[in-house]
């Protein structure tokens, strides 16, 4: 395994994990576990036509599997309801701080399976087919989760729904 090619993916893994867990420290714990796991399992990864893309997808798969297992144990997700000011970057050309806070809050209220899909597709720009392979569900499930996630996010951003909602347990798909 080429160590440097993995290092190049770390910033994106960190960003994704930060939005997934809602907490910068927890996110880095998840990234660290992912990298350690990747080192142990790297023989299972077979580079194909586009090694860079595939390595990225594989790293996200490793992270997904760890996250799903940990969500059940609540290790990474325990603080998803809390808004930590440290996780909010208010610089940037697009969002004003208020919208940013609302969006952060809305993400934390999405069920974990919906949050993952929306981050993989919208943030990480994986295709629907790649996302389906990555989280090991049929593509139809990707589309229906994406649809639910987008509607829910839109509702949350409009303030239609009260801020406290119960989050269903993440179902593990085998």
């Amino acid at each position: 395994m080429d160590r440097n090619s993995i290092i190049a993916h770390i910033p994106r893994l960190r960003r994704y994990a930060r939005l997934l867990t809602g907490d910068a420290h927890r996110a880095d714990d998840l990234v660290q576990d992912t990298l350690e796991r990747a080192c142990i399992k790297w023989q299972l990864w077979q580079p194909g036509a586009e090694p860079a893309l595939q390595l990225r997808a594989w790293l996200f798969t490793v992270m997904h599997n760890l996250f799903v297992n940990q969500v059940r144990g609540k290790a990474y997700a325990a603080r998803r309801d809390a808004v930590s000011m440290d996780d909010i970057d208010i610089e940037g050309p697009v969002l004003d701080p208020g919208v940013r806070l609302d969006l952060e809050r809305a993400l934390r209220q999405l069920p974990a399976d919906q949050l993952e899909i929306v981050l993989l597709v919208a943030l990480e720009d994986f295709s629907y087919a790649e996302a389906a392979i990555l989280i090991n569900v049929p593509i139809g499930t990707v589309m229906s989760r994406l649809s639910r996630a987008r509607k829910r996010l839109a509702e949350l951003m409009d303030g239609v729904v009260p801020t406290k909602v119960s989050r269903p347990q993440l179902k593990v798909m085998k």
Binding site: R3, I6, I7, I10, P11, R12, R14, R15, R18, L19, A24, H25, A27, D28, V31, Q32, L35, E36, A38, C39, I40, A82, S84, M85, D86, D87, I88, D89, I90, E91, G92, P93, V94, L95, D96, P97, G98, V99, R100, L101, L103, E104, L107, V118, L119, V121, A122, L123, D125, S127, Y128, M143, L146, S147, R150, L153, A154
Partner: protein
């Protein structure tokens, strides 16, 4: 033309349609304002998501993550890293203080840490200063209790500066979360209803403290001056002219540092 489905709208918003299908969908949407609005809203959602957590892409990668890629060494390195993190946490250091001192060899992360502290302060200002009913957790009427409580939680003796000379009265304060330690916010208001907030974080107990100059940061209408003095880092935020904000910052510095 084949049937349009909601999947086409998702694919359009995500830029996943081929040119032909895209043209078909766009044509169809011309007569479907509701569906058009939906696809546009989803695209805007994507843009907003990409604007979040962008700082993670620019931050230096922490050593412990690089170390995690070295299978022979990772076990003990992980243990050492965990011990370090624990000791930093135990010393009640804010993440800011930790990065400022522990990483003093790397100017990039120092600047980043300081800016991030200022941004945290401004974010907290933006959230709480417009509040009408609950701008603070503890009101100025209970000032002694307020200051004692915040001091205890930050692990260092605080003082609420007096800004009446500049027309600002203490409204109260609140405790806010930091990554590794609590932060305090004091809120002040003048007769015109303008509010400024003073945001504080404790520095590591054993840190060699180097006082800094006032640094300035702004985001839209809100600006902040921030600095370090002895065992605390400070940021004063407000929607004020830079010169007025600087005057107030100097007043705070003089009172608390003197």
């Amino acid at each position: 033309m084949t049937m349009m489905t909601e999947d086409d709208l998702h694919a359009l918003a995500d830029g996943r349609l081929g040119p032909e299908r895209r043209a078909e969908v766009e044509t169809w949407l011309a007569g479907q304002p509701e569906a058009r609005a939906k696809a546009d809203a989803w695209r805007a959602q994507n843009d907003a998501l990409r604007a979040l957590a962008r700082e993670a892409l620019d931050e230096p990668v922490p050593e412990r993550l690089i170390a995690a890629l070295n299978p022979q060494r990772q076990r003990w390195l992980t243990a050492v890293a965990a011990a370090l993190v624990a000791s930093v946490t135990m010393s009640a250091a804010g993440w800011f203080g930790h990065a400022w001192y522990a990483a003093s060899g790397s100017s990039g992360s120092v600047v980043f840490a300081a800016k991030r502290f200022a941004r945290d302060a401004m974010a907290a200002h933006v959230v709480y200063s417009p509040e009408v009913r609950h701008p603070v957790e503890v009101a100025a009427a209970e000032q002694q209790h307020l200051v004692q409580w915040l001091s205890k939680r930050l692990g260092t003796q605080l003082k609420a500066p007096l800004l009446q000379a500049q027309g600002f009265d203490l409204v109260g304060g609140r405790l806010l979360p930091g990554d590794n330690g609590a932060r305090a916010q004091f809120m002040y208001q003048n007769a015109g209803g303008e509010r400024v907030t003073l945001y504080l974080s404790a520095m590591p107990k054993n840190a060699t403290t180097i006082p800094t100059a006032f640094r300035f940061e702004n985001n839209g209408p809100v600006s902040a001056f921030y600095w370090i003095d002895r065992d605390l880092s400070y940021a004063l935020s407000g929607d004020l002219q830079r010169s007025r904000l600087l005057q107030l910052s100097e007043l705070v510095y003089t009172q608390l540092g003197g």
